[in-house]
Amino acid sequence: MVIFFQQVLNGIMLGAVYSLFALGLTIIYGILKIPNFAHGALYMWAGFTSLFLVINFHTNYWVSLLIGMAVLGLVGVGIERVVFRPLREQPHINSFIGAVGLIFVLESLSLIVWGPDFRRFPPLYDQTFNIFGVTITLERLLVIVAAILFIILLQLFIKRTWMGATIEAVAQNPEGAQLVGISIDRVSSLTFGIGIALAAAAATLIAPVFLVYSTMGDMPNLKAFVIIIVGGLGSIPGAVIGGFMLGLIEALGGGYISTDYKDIFAFGILVTFLTIRPTGLFGKGVR
């Protein structure tokens, strides 16, 4: 039973990070209707940026997390402006190709700038807690708490602030939003910035637990796509529920069934899921 709870806890940690990552992807899809395939590459850059700050300037971990979010958020705004805005009126697949081009640029640039080595964050906290035999490090606990905090903050931003309301308005009805004077361009920039900043937060949160390297974003990227497809493209609750679901399934499946085939679960779920419900849990169908 202890092993079970240990795995559940690991699953929750993984799920929290997956959710955060997938949230960014799903709000970007909701507004711009593009599958931002370069999300994982930007996530990787965030990991390196925070690591650079912590190691070279001895910045506090949480400060470097916020700086990483801000820097990558700005990069996201720039990318939206330069690459995705001109592609908005073109067929879907073109934005996808644009994103694939961005992956090439970002990953090769990271090899040039940061090198091919696997890097490790200096350990942050070494306390561990023991609750009924289940051990958890403070580090992992903080990952969970911080990720959930960011999810709540995003929800509050969208539901309670005027700026967040414009995002929801455009997601629901772009023409109607334009009619009442909301600038689609502005909302697109804002959404992209926030989406990438969330991925940056996810990267810095998980980096001390795992490692930092140039392809660290590849698997989370693919899994996040699974999550938002299962949750329904553009759906915020879908991304959160899907993220935690996947984290738990992976941790339990890896613990009880087979670690070899751990990565297959995610993609297997997706394919079975799509055959049963082609538009995801909360999806509204495709235009």
Partner: protein, 319 residues
Amino acid sequence: MNPTVRKWLFLAVLVVAVIIPQLITNKYYMNILIMSGIWAIVTLALNLILGYTGQAQLAHGAFFGIGAYAAALTMLKLNLNFWLALPFGAAVAGFFGLIIGLPALRTKGSYFAIGTMCFNIIVTLIIDRWEGLTNGSRGLMGIPGFAPIPLPWVGEITFKTQAAQFYLVLFFLLLTIFILRRTIQSLVGRSFRAIRGNEELAEALGIPSTKTKLLSLIISCALAGMGGVLYASYIGFLSPDQTDFRLGFNFLIYILIGGIGTMIGPIIGTLLIVTLPDALQVAADYRMFIYGIILVFMIIYMPRGIMGALQDLSNRKRS
């Protein structure tokens, strides 16, 4: 371009292609040409479902790899002749196209694109982990090459020289073009394009959309599988990398650079992208970087690729 000019141009290119192996003696360049021929077959196959039917299928690497592995395993374990393994590999890939198409084609747009991509990842993971059958990440070695064709009285045609291998690949490239042209110009091909244009409208006109898309997918997958078999026998080695979804991205990129939904575009795109980096002698680290920038630039300013840009030019001249 009017049909006669087009015919002559095609003949001229064909003559050049036939002469080329006699002119180029450098083994390295010949290898690049043969490889581009194989990639062109797979790229053309993808263009049928992507360019002509409008379905963003992102599992082409898997179908290429399934064809390659199916043929390689039957050749290695059952001693099947290359000329039997080739149709077998293509058939297996086509069969997988059917199996995957049935559930996947229920979905549309991005769901279809990402769903097929996930299928590709599953295939790669299974091939990587199923060591007993596929030898896992160490890969399959010593796959038999192109078998000679016995001819009565004269002897046999062998494929030992690079020139002969080049002609073999060229033959299959022409066969692919022939099959695709006949498909596209037929009534079925018209229904493919009708679905690309407007699926609801096509259905209203009595075109069974799922069945039609499935047919396009199966043909596309079988041809990709055929390309895979050629690759396996030419290189003689297969590993899970040859089924990776990024491979499918390469084909997608060749199509977009050359011109989507055209017959010549994908071939030009393949030749250009496969040969150019070697011609430019760029350092590998910077190659992907430059490549990515070109890709982003092209997709923004020349979304219909080289063929599209040429068409626009000739239209402008006429008007």
